[in-house]
C-alpha cells in the first residue's frame, strides 16, 4: 500500500476528504520527526514505538583485504513493534 492508498483508506474510514487526511498525515509525520529529533520516544499503544538510537563507533575489518576501517557513530530510527501487534501478526498464516 502506497501513500495515496493509505490516505484513501483512512479518508474512507473517517468520512473525510482525502486532502484533509493528507494534510493531517503530513502534520503527524512532522510531529513524529520533531519529537524524535528532540530525543523523545513516540509510542502508539497497540502499534509500536519510534525512537532515535545511537550506534556506537566500531572498527570494521574487511575480511578479504584486511583493511581496517573506523566506522563513526551514527544515529538511526528504531521502530519497535508492540506486543499486541506481534500477537495479532501471529494469526497470519505461516510464511510458505
Amino acid at each position: 500500500m502506497k501513500h495515496k492508498g493509505l490516505v484513501a483508506a483512512v479518508a474512507s474510514k473517517l468520512n473525510q476528504p482525502e486532502s484533509e487526511v493528507d494534510r493531517m498525515l503530513e502534520a503527524t509525520v512532522e510531529i513524529l520527526k520533531s519529537q524524535m529529533v528532540a530525543g523523545n520516544m513516540v509510542s502508539f499503544q497497540g502499534f509500536g514505538s519510534f525512537e532515535f538510537k545511537r550506534k556506537e563507533e566500531r572498527l570494521s575489518v574487511h575480511p578479504a583485504t584486511q583493511v581496517r576501517t573506523l566506522i563513526p557513530p551514527k544515529q538511526v530510527v528504531n521502530f519497535r513493534q508492540s506486543t499486541t501487534l506481534k500477537m495479532k501478526l501471529k494469526d497470519i498464516l505461516r510464511h510458505e
Binding site: 483512512v10 498525515l25 502534520a27 520516544m41 509510542s43 509500536g48 519510534f50 551514527k74 544515529q75 513493534q81
Partner: protein, 474 residues
C-alpha cells in the same frame, strides 16, 4: 538528550494544535491511521508513508534455543515482525548530529609507527647487548691465550732472558727503534682487524679497547713478576750481553718471525719507557717483552687459524676443481660415444665431426644404412601426394536415415577416420561432407592397403589431415 516517552494522547494534542482541528478528529484520525496500517500489515502488505518510511512484514524462521531456566532445548516458532525502514529523508534527519563523520581508513600507519617505536627501543638496547656479549667472548679468548702463555712462559723464560741480553744493547742506537715502531702498530692493527673477523658482528672499537685493556693489564701484572726474576740476571755486566750477542743473532735467524715481532714490540716499549726510566731501561726492556710475547702468541695463533682456514678452503677448491675436471672428462667420454653411433643415420653433417680415417670407414656404411629407412617414408609420401583415383569399388552403400560417412567407413575399413576416401570417391555426388542425403548410392572404393593402413600412424595422421581439410572447407 532527555528521553521522554510521548504517548498517542500527547501526539493527538499536538496534532490538533498544528492542523487546527478538533481533538476528536485528530484522535480518530490517528486511530484510523494505525488501524489501516495494521490491517495492511496483517494482509501481508507493506505500507509506505511519504516522508517517514515503509512498514513491512518480515518472517523470522523458527529456530532452536535453550530454555534459560531448565536448560532444555526448545524451538522458537517462526513469527512475523514489523520492520520499519526509514525514508532517506528521515534517515538523514536522524543522523544529523553525526553527519559530518566519515569512516576512517586505518591503514597500517598506526601499527607501523608502533612497531617502529618498538624497534627503536630494541635498537637502543641491542648495541649494549652486543657489546656485552662481545666483551665476554673476547675475555674468554684472552684468558685462554693467557693460560697457554703462562704454560709456555716457564719454558721460554730462559730463552727470553737471553734474547733480552742481545736486544738490550740495541737501544744504544736511537735510530733503530724509531724505524721499527711501525711494525708493531701494524701488528696491533692487524690483530684489531682479524679479531672482528672471528665474530663478524663485533665492533672493532670494542675489540681494540679490549685488547688495549688486556695488554695493559698484562703489562701491569707481568713486569713485577718477571722483573723480580730478571733483576738478578741484569746485575751481570753488559760485557756478557755483548759477547752473548753474536751467537744469539745467529740463533734468531732460523727462528720464525715470532722473534722479529718480539723485537719490534720490545723496542717500542723501550722507546716509550726509556723516557721515564732511563737508568733502568735494561730491566724494563726485558720486562716489557712479556706482553709482547703474548701478543705474538695471539698473532701466531691467528696466523695458524688463518692457515687452517686457507688449507680447508684450498682443499675445497681443489676437490671442486678435481670434480670439475673429472666431470669434464666424463662428459667427454659420454659425448664421444654417441657421436660415433649417431653418425650413421645422420649422413654427411656427421662427417665433419669425425676424423678423416673414420669418415672413410663410416661413410660407406652410413650411406647404405640411410638408403633403406628413407624408402618407405618416401613411398608413403608419394602415395599421399599423388591424386587418388578410385576405379575399383568393393561395394555401394545406400544412405538411409542416420547414415554417417564415418560409420560407413568404420563398417568397411574398420576405422572411421578413412571416411575421407569414401567422400573423395563420391565427389560427383557430394560437394561437401554434409551433403549426404537419404537415398544416395555411395560407392565404397577399394583402398590401397598401404595408404589405408590403420596400424600405421602416418596413414592415420594423413587421414585426419584430410578430415580437417574437408571439414574446414564447408
Amino acid at each position: 538528550m532527555s528521553k521522554e516517552k510521548m504517548n498517542a494522547a500527547e501526539i493527538v494534542e499536538l496534532l490538533s494544535q498544528q492542523v487546527a482541528v478538533s481533538k476528536k478528529l485528530s484522535d480518530d484520525f490517528l486511530k484510523a491511521l494505525l488501524a489501516t496500517i495494521e490491517e495492511a500489515l496483517v494482509s501481508q502488505d507493506s505500507v509506505k508513508i511519504n516522508g517517514l518510511g515503509t512498514f513491512k512484514l518480515q518472517w523470522n524462521e523458527p529456530r532452536k534455543s535453550v530454555d534459560v531456566n531448565t536448560g532444555a532445548e526448545i524451538v522458537i516458532d517462526g513469527y512475523h515482525k514489523v520492520v520499519f525502514t526509514p525514508d532517506a529523508e528521515l534517515k538523514e534527519l536522524a543522523n544529523e548530529p553525526y553527519a559530518h563523520l566519515q569512516p576512517v581508513l586505518l591503514d597500517d600507519g598506526e601499527e607501523a609507527t608502533e612497531k617502529a617505536s618498538e624497534e627503536t627501543a630494541d635498537a637502543d638496547q641491542m648495541p649494549l647487548k652486543f657489546f656485552n656479549e662481545q666483551a665476554s667472548e673476547i675475555k674468554d679468548i684472552l684468558s685462554e691465550i693467557n693460560a697457554l702463555n703462562d704454560k709456555q712462559e716457564d719454558k721460554t723464560q730462559d730463552a727470553a732472558i737471553e734474547v733480552t741480553a742481545t736486544q738490550s744493547s740495541e737501544p744504544a742506537t736511537p735510530e733503530v727503534p724509531l724505524e721499527i715502531e711501525t711494525p708493531l702498530e701494524m701488528i696491533v692493527s692487524e690483530e684489531a682487524e682479524e679479531k672482528p673477523e672471528e665474530k663478524p658482528d663485533a665492533k672493532s672499537e670494542v675489540v681494540e679497547k679490549e685488547i688495549v685493556e688486556s695488554s695493559e693489564v698484562e703489562v701491569i701484572e707481568t713486569p713485577e713478576e718477571v722483573a723480580a726474576v730478571i733483576v738478578g740476571k741484569e746485575a751481570d755486566p753488559v760485557v756478557e750481553e755483548s759477547s752473548a750477542m753474536a751467537p744469539e743473532v745467529s740463533v734468531e735467524e732460523p727462528q720464525v718471525k715470532v722473534k722479529e715481532t718480539q723485537k719490534a714490540e720490545s723496542r717500542k716499549r723501550r722507546v716509550q719507557e726509556v723516557d721515564e726510566f732511563h737508568p733502568e731501561s735494561l730491566g724494563k726492556s726485558s720486562v716489557t717483552r712479556a706482553p709482547g710475547r703474548k701478543l705474538d702468541f695471539l698473532f701466531v695463533g691467528i696466523m695458524l687459524g688463518g692457515l687452517l682456514v686457507y688449507i680447508l678452503i684450498d682443499f675445497d677448491v681443489f676437490s671442486s676443481v678435481k670434480k670439475h675436471i673429472d666431470s669434464n672428462r666424463f662428459r667427454n667420454e659420454i659425448v664421444q660415444v654417441p657421436e660415433s653411433q649417431f653418425v650413421i643415420p645422420e649422413e654427411i653433417p656427421a662427417d665433419t665431426l669425425l676424423t678423416d680415417t673414420t669418415v672413410l670407414q663410416q661413410d660407406t656404411v652410413a650411406q647404405e644404412v640411410v638408403a633403406k629407412p628413407a624408402e618407405p617414408v618416401d613411398e608413403l609420401q608419394v602415395l599421399f601426394d599423388q591424386p587418388r583415383v578410385y576405379k575399383e569399388f568393393i561395394a555401394t552403400e545406400k544412405v538411409i536415415q542416420g547414415s554417417r560417412l564415418t560409420r560407413i567407413s568404420e563398417r568397411h575399413y574398420g576405422v572411421k577416420e578413412f571416411w575421407v576416401y569414401i567422400f573423395e570417391a563420391n565427389r560427383d555426388l557430394l560437394n561437401s561432407p554434409d551433403d549426404i542425403a537419404v537415398g544416395m548410392q555411395l560407392k565404397i572404393p577399394k583402398l590401397n592397403p598401404k595408404l589405408a593402413d590403420a596400424d600405421n600412424p602416418r596413414c592415420m595422421e594423413y587421414a585426419l589431415k584430410l578430415h580437417d581439410e574437408y571439414v574446414k572447407r564447408r
